[in-house]
């Protein structure tokens, strides 16, 4: 895995892939795994990031998600967005198939 | 130096008559498995010892490139050995499969070949095909799981150290 959290990142979130179908998921404030990035809990600062990752690692999560990790997010006005191209693509879907992935679901809902 | 294990030999759980010794302890008359280093260093003395001797072949940790111990080094000592314990340090390290076949097919070793270390369920049957007859299993593995894993594939495509000829040969047997 190439682009993970960069050192010195201020804001971070935790992501993983769901065991049953590989879907990209994010750890929420109430320790659930959500399918969309806006639902992700955001940690501010390195210590908060570590605490957030620790919440993603209990053994019982192994039944539901794979390889949780931290990644950098950036503040964008009132919202957050993933910092790296990799995480932008994971949060949306393939840039060459806008009809597939989360970006397509979002379109259907709106 | 050696983890707890249960021994399955020729398909059945059994008491292990062997034990592993380090390189310093004086050897008793009990069947003992020693390191290749010790075997080479004490070969003459050991040849005079009137008890069963085994050797452990390490697959890993030999210098920077971790090539492991070479099965060819056992050649001068085969007449002294009743057992070779082949080390599989992780399931990824499959060097021991070649060591087993060389012992069986090129050195005609007919003593006990056992596998020790970290292996996956579907590797047991492959080990058996390479001539391994005894398995040091983690205490958590049941004999039922082991036996089932051994029978998951009923045919083989290629010959190895067992008596399966392989489909390419068997079709015209």
């Amino acid at each position: 895995m190439a682009q993970h959290s960069s050192k010195g990142a201020r804001f971070q979130a935790v992501t993983a892939n769901r065991l049953s179908d590989g879907e990209v998921v994010y750890l929420t404030a109430d320790n659930q795994w959500a399918e969309t990035f806006p639902a992700a809990d955001i940690a501010d600062g390195a210590a908060a990031g570590e605490a957030l990752l620790a919440r993603a690692l209990p053994a019982d999560f192994e039944l539901h998600v794979l390889e949780p990790y931290l990644f950098e997010v950036l503040q964008d006005g009132a919202h957050f967005k993933p910092a790296s191209v990799r995480e932008i693509i994971r949060a949306a879907g393939p840039t060459v198939r806008l009809d597939l992935g989360k970006q397509a679901d979002a379109k259907q809902e709106s | 130096m050696h983890k707890d294990y249960q021994l399955v030999k020729d398909g059945a759980l059994c008491q292990d008559e062997w034990h592993y010794s380090d390189d310093e302890t004086a050897l008793s008359d009990a069947p003992t498995i020693i390191s290749l280093t010790r075997l080479k260093a004490e070969a003459e003395v050991l040849r005079a010892r009137n008890a069963k001797l085994g050797v452990r072949l390490l697959a890993d940790g030999n210098g920077k490139t971790k090539l492991g111990e070479d099965v060819a080094e056992l050649a001068p000592y085969l007449d002294m050995l009743s057992l070779v314990s082949i080390d599989f340090p992780t399931y990824r390290n499959g060097r021991g499969f070649s060591a087993a076949r060389i012992l069986r097919e090129q050195f005609n070793f007919d003593g006990e070949l056992r596998a020790s270390g970290d292996v996956l369920h579907d590797q047991w049957a492959m080990m058996r095909r390479c001539g391994i007859t005894a398995f040091e299993l983690a205490p958590t593995v049941s004999l039922e799981v082991f036996t089932k894993a051994m029978d998951e594939l009923s045919e083989a495509y290629q010959p190895a150290s067992d008596d399966q000829r392989g489909a390419l040969w068997k079709r015209h047997a």
């Binding site: 682009q3 879907e23 840039t95 | 390419l168």
Partner: protein, 550 residues
């Protein structure tokens, strides 16, 4: 084509059952991910960015219509309506759910296909010349020995946990279309002065972060001894190949570090021991049985030319262009090899929809003796089409957007899935392939440029073969942003070479301009009849470098 017998059916069936059990144990929590991962990988199941990916083996790139229809069915039922043909002649599905994969594999087994050994540190699916059995001047159909190798290497008890993955490619022709010198073992079928068939063996080629052209290890291994020779290479590698560092674990590194001579000595010493047992000599009756599956189809006796085709060429300029670009002469009078480009302008290289796969399957059934081939350049082939039928086939392909007349041209790009799908990628590959093909969309301009192979990888693992592209592009990551490095002068054919990096990387915004600069430089310097690679080899890197970084 090879047909499974009871052995094959039974083994593949048992493997599906075994994997079903493994998936159930994983989902129930009995198996941890650490324990499950190697098992799923051995069955071709990867975890990518958005979902699992399943890689299905297409042995030596040959498919029947029924098998291709099954891929269409799988794409529809278990995936999102498309599949991706790879540089290893395989097909990948990008979205299957883990708990449905056992069902998928069960359906796949009904058409004699599987995903066994498409991943993991084992002997992977054997690849071969896509024109096997159709091209003139072939010593022998490479699929015969490929099938024997497939069987010998499947569930090999000694060689399933090698230091690293292991890829074998075979060609029976002097013009290498299987990139055999970029494989762990490359095999060229040869005939000696006595008329006997044997094999020239190349060992230690590969791409990745340290590319090497394979070294010729043996000039002529007699037919009956090939498996013994291969087993000797594998055993030397399994015993002495490095396991301390996965980047140094491929056999190419061992050949490089051990030296060609010593490597040859080790292999031959082991070969002598194995060969003496005669255990691996395939019985003649079995070799004949397998050969028979690859016998010529029932070709009709036809004239060498077709009036229908010539008339159509005069009447339809697009058809004429397609014939010129995508049709290769067949060994049999009156027939042609038809290349189906999976590189429409602006499309995703190697992708085909369920409907397109079914269309190709129908065409193969009606016009090509039920056979389809997959090429390592991510296209499809109908190997045996009558000249008289070419126009009909073309029209059908055209209706399904499968008639782009760009084979071997600048828009016929190899591209790995890249950061749009791949967990290992540093940068996207596909959008770049799309932009380049759109920039050079005009086919007349492409013909004027001539043969030019662009190959794009989204990371140093080089799945997009960038090292051997006439123009290679490597995506790199700098702090979460994509950059692209250019290399020039690579080639994957019988005159294989590794490209040279031009210099600092380009941004996503400037890379396509840079490619155009390379092409313009070539056009300015080329002499009569020179292809890009010829000009490059004559003038070297410097003129290109000067223009690129001016």
């Amino acid at each position: 084509m090879y047909r499974y017998d009871e052995f094959d059916h039974q083994l593949v069936g048992e493997r599906v059952t075994q994997f079903r059990g493994q998936v159930e144990r994983r989902v129930s929590g009995e198996l941890s991910e650490d324990a499950f991962k190697p098992l799923r990988l051995m069955n071709g199941v990867y975890l990518q960015l958005h979902a699992y990916m399943l890689r299905v083996a297409i042995p030596y790139g040959t498919l029947s219509s029924k098998q291709l229809r099954m891929q269409a069915h799988i794409a529809r039922k278990y995936d999102r309506g498309y599949g991706h043909f790879t540089t290893r002649q395989n097909i990948q599905f990008n979205w299957p759910a883990l708990d449905k994969i056992p069902d998928l594999l069960e359906e796949l087994a009904t058409v004699e296909m599987h995903a066994i050994q498409t991943s993991g540190n084992c002997i992977r699916n054997v690849t071969a010349d896509q024109y096997a059995g159709a091209i003139d001047n072939e010593v022998e159909d490479p699929r015969i020995i490929s099938e024997i190798i497939r069987q010998w290497s499947t569930f090999h008890p000694e060689f399933t946990y090698l230091p690293r993955k292991f890829k074998i490619a075979v060609t029976g022709h002097d013009n290498d279309r299987a990139a055999i010198k970029l494989h762990d073992i490359g095999i060229v079928i040869k005939q000696n002065e006595l008329g006997d068939i044997g094999y020239e063996i190349h060992v230690g080629g590969g791409q990745g972060r340290t590319p090497f052209i394979a070294k010729k290890m043996a000039d002529f291994v007699p037919k009956a001894q090939l498996l013994a020779y291969l087993e000797a290479v594998m055993r030397v590698y399994n015993r002495l190949g490095r396991r301390d560092n996965s980047y140094k674990a491929r056999i190419k590194i061992m050949v490089h570090e051990t030296g060609e001579e010593e490597m040859r000595r080790l292999i031959e010493a082991e070969f002598a021991k194995i060969d003496a047992s005669q255990m691996l000599s395939v019985p003649q009756a079995e070799a004949d049985r397998i050969s028979a599956y690859f016998a010529n189809p029932a070709f009709a006796a036809l004239p060498a030319t077709s009036a229908a085709m010539e008339t159509a060429q005069k009447q339809d300029a697009d058809f004429a262009r397609w014939v010129r670009a995508n049709i290769v002469p067949h060994k049999q009078d009156g027939y042609a090899i038809v290349n189906i480009s999976l590189k429409p302008i602006g499309g995703v290289p190697g992708d085909a929809t369920d409907v397109q796969m079914e269309a190709v399957a129908d065409l193969a059934e009606r016009y090509s003796f039920d056979e389809i081939r997959v090429t390592h350049e991510q296209n499809l082939v109908l190997p045996h089409v009558r000249l008289d039928d070419l126009k009909t086939v073309y029209d059908e392909l055209q209706a399904h957007e499968l008639a782009t007349a760009n084979l071997g041209l600048i828009s016929d790009t190899i591209a790995c899935p890249g950061l749009d799908y791949c967990n290992l990628a540093n940068a996207r590959s596909i959008p770049l392939a799309q932009e380049i093909s759109e920039r050079f969309a005009d086919l007349d301009r492409q013909y004027d440029i001539g043969e030019l192979k662009i190959k794009i990888s989204g990371c140093i693992n080089a799945c997009g073969h960038h090292h051997v592209g006439h123009i290679g592009i490597l995506g790199v990551d700098k702090k979460g942003t994509e950059f692209y490095q250019i290399s020039l002068g690579g080639s994957a054919d019988e005159n294989a070479s590794i490209g040279t990096i031009t210099g600092r990387a380009f941004t996503e915004e400037t890379i396509v301009d840079a490619i155009e600069t390379v092409v313009t430089t070539y056009k300015d310097m080329r002499q009569d009849g020179e292809r890009f690679i010829d000009t490059y080899r004559r003038v070297g890197l410097d003129p290109f470098k000067e223009r690129l970084y001016a």
